[in-house]
Structures are given as C-alpha cells and as structure tokens.
Amino acid sequence: MIKNNLIKTIISRMSGIIIIIAAWHFLSVFIADAFILPSPADVFVILRKLIASGSAFNEFKITFIRSIAGLAIALAAGIAAGVLLGLNKIVYDVFHTIIIFIQSTPAIAWILLAIIWFSTEMVPVYVVAIAVVPIITLNCAEGILQTDRKILEMASLYKVKKMKVLRYIYLPAITGYLISAVKISLGLTFRVAVMAEVLVHPGSGVGEKMNWARINIETGEVLAWTIIIVAATMIFDQIVNLIFKFSLRKYND
C-alpha cells in the first residue's frame, strides 16, 4: 500500500516535470529563435558542460554558503525576536509593525541599501537574512502566543524553572510553526541570494554567472543556471523534510 502510494506520488511529480519540458519544447519550436528561447535539449547540453567542468558545483557552493549564512543569521535573530514578541504583549505590538514594515519593503530596496552599506561579498548574506527574519519571527511569536495557557498556569503554580518551561512547553508549541517558516524561507533564501548576486556582482556565485550569461545573451546558460537553483531548492526541501521528520519523531510517534 505504502509502496503503491510512493509510486503514485513519483509518477504525478514526474508528470509535472514532463509537462513543463514539453511546453518548453513546443514553445521553443514555435519561437524558433535560440537567443530568445533555446530548446530543452540545448539547455541540457549546456547544463552537462557546466556540471562536467565543475563550474556548476563551485559556483553553487559559493551561493549555497551565502544563502545558508543568511538563513542561519535569520534563524538566530528570528527565534530570539519571536520569543520576545510572543512573551510580551507590549513588545509584540511595538515590533509587529516594524516587522510588517520590513516584510513589505521590496527585496530590491534592501539590495540597493546593502550595496551602499556593505561590501559586495556580504550583500547576498544580508539580503537573505533581512528577507527571512520577518517570516521566522512572526511564526515563532505566533507559536508562543498559541501555547496552551492552562499548561503554563500549571507550570507557574508548581514554580517550574523558566528553562524547563521553554524546553518542555514552549519548544513543542513553536516547533510546528518553525518548520513551516523554515520551509517557506528555504525557497526564498536561494531566490533572494541569486537575485542579490545578479545585482551586486560579487565576482562569484550562480547569480554572477547568470548575469554574465545575460550580458553575453547566452539564454541557454541562464536557463541552465536556473535549473541548477530550482533542483537545489527541491533537493534541500526534501533534506529539510527528512531532518525534521527524524528530529521530531518524538512528537509524532
């Protein structure tokens, strides 16, 4: 039964990819201009070259490190801020507006400011952090706010130490919210990091390579780098799912 379901899931997901490739192929035949839209076959040839030369791995590694650094900063700052917001109503009311302001500001505005404020190397890290912090903060705060008040009352009556309350009451309460926040953030992380690299020319990274391909009107290479980022996002999404599944087995069994 489980095996059948797995096969069904794989088939439906593969069908989605096949539909995209087929549509892309027909569109490229219809346009018939490799500068505007090369065929999937041409792009896969370029992709194979990028992988074989080691360029795909090296450039992605740099983008990955920047993205993960930004995500780590956002997680640390977002969880700390989220706990503070969730625990104190006044802090929540004051900072909620600020966070919504940060969230509503277009990523491009932060990139332009970052170009002025930081070295080009640091811009993608900073932009990823600023884009992800509001998601982590608000989800974490929501988890704290949704914590069962009656359980907290019990802990206060029995004078349970704050660290124990955090570990045994708040942590399980915010875990679900944090998981969905990290999942949303992961896709955003790579997209924003590449966008920042395209705009600031840090000298390396997927975005930098995409920008050079754009300047040279190598549409096939732009698409090949896009495929690399999309594939990486999907793979990391699965890895994160597995990590969460493993670390949360205590709450699920």
């Binding site: 009656k150 359980i151 019990m154 802990a155 009556l157 029995y158 004078k159 045994y168 009451i169 399980p172």
Partner: protein
C-alpha cells in the same frame, strides 16, 4: 488552620462567590460539595493564587500548594514519569515509585501521556499533585473520569496516603458519595451566588463508611428533596 474569611468574587456584573468563610483543619480532608457551575473552581483558583482579583482574606496558606485541575494539564509529548518529574527540581525516587504504584501507573510509566485514556491521565494528574510535596492539596473533581470500581480503589489508597503523610486536602466535588467516603469535614454550598450553606463534621471512621451508607442521604437530604 487555614482561615478563609468573607471571600467575594465578581466577574463583571455577575456575583460568583458571596462571603465564603471556611476553616480548613490541617492534616484533614475537607470536601466542598455543591452543584456544577456554582463557583467551586473559582474558589480554588483564588486559594492557589491563579485568581488574584477578589475581596476577603485568607490566613494560614502554606507556601507550596498542589492543584489537581479539572482538566489533566499534562505534557502530552512526554512520558508519565517525565510529567511527574517536571514539577520538581530535586527528585524523590522512593515517593515517585510509591505514587506510581498507588495510582496503578507502574506499567505505563514510560508511555507518552497522549496515548493514555482519560482515566489514566486523571490518575497521572493526581499523582503529580501529590509528588509536588506541598502543604495543601487542592483536588478539583479528580475522579470524574474514573469508573466506579477504580474510583473507589484509588479513593481508598489516596485517603490512606493522606492519613500517613498528614496532608491537608481540599476536595471539590458534586458527587455526594466521594465527599462522604473521603472527607473529615464537608461544606455544602448554595448556588447563584455561591455561598456556604452548612458544615458537617464526620465522626465515623472512614474505614467503616461504605458507598451505600444511609448517612449520605442524611447529610445531603435537603438537596435531594
């Protein structure tokens, strides 16, 4: 002696408690019997310090108070043992084992609370309250999820444990049988607003009381007429 004097509590316009005065004897079980929804839990919330907005005075309250709530209020993702240990910084292995045994929790001590039945959860909740080792134990309808046979057995064991450790217990119940079998003193309450109707000191030894004793109808006669 815990002296509760003229406790009044309103929720907006609604008068819930009206001049509640009780004297609670140390080392004894005091049952507070009244109809459902009359304000008994509000009284316990005041005594435990969870409800701070009231008038009147309470003297002689111990610093540590255990409260077995109407709902179990347990950590669902943790084991039975962990739930008991959660409320204490310094663990007492002997007391822990003793309580697990009294409440028939030995076999399920490592089981997660979320997998337990309502009755099992209620037993864990009572055991936790006793494990805290306080000077006053508040029990708010602690046996409501238990079947009659288990209820009578735990009631007997709990009473024996209380007598051995000389714990001061206040029991809220709307079950006349429970109040009669456990208590040394029974306060009966009126409703809307909640006020003390009368007080019965029970002289007969608990061991000689039975669930079908004619004395029950004697004490609660007025309410059933």
């Amino acid at each position: 002696m815990i002296k509760i004097k003229n406790i009044c509590k309103n929720f907006g316009e609604l008068e819930v408690l009206k001049n509640i005065s009780l004297e609670i004897r140390p080392g004894k079980i005091t049952a507070i019997w009244g109809p459902s929804g009359c304000g008994k839990t509000t009284l316990f919330n005041i005594l435990s310090g969870l409800e701070k907005n009231f008038t009147g005075s309470i003297d002689g309250l111990p610093e540590k108070i255990s409260y077995c709530f109407q709902e179990d209020r347990l950590l669902n993702h943790e084991s039975v043992c962990k739930n008991l240990k959660f409320i204490r910084d310094i663990q007492d292995k002997e007391l822990l084992q003793n309580l697990l045994h009294i409440f028939r929790l030995d076999d399920i001590k490592n089981k997660k609370v979320k997998h337990l039945s309502g009755g099992q959860k209620q037993r864990v909740s009572i055991a936790r309250a006793l494990y805290f080792g306080s000077g006053l134990l508040l029990l708010d309808e602690p046996f409501k999820s238990l079947d009659l046979e288990l209820k009578l057995r735990i009631l007997k064991d709990l009473t024996a444990f209380q007598q051995k450790h000389k714990i001061t217990v206040m029991l809220i119940t709307h079950d006349a049988q429970e109040a009669y079998l456990m208590a040394d003193t029974i306060f009966t309450l009126n409703e809307k607003p909640c006020s003390v109707r009368d007080c019965h000191e029970l002289k007969t030894k608990k061991i000689s009381r039975t669930p079908f004793d004619s004395q029950i109808s004697g004490i609660f006669r007025d309410y059933y007429l």
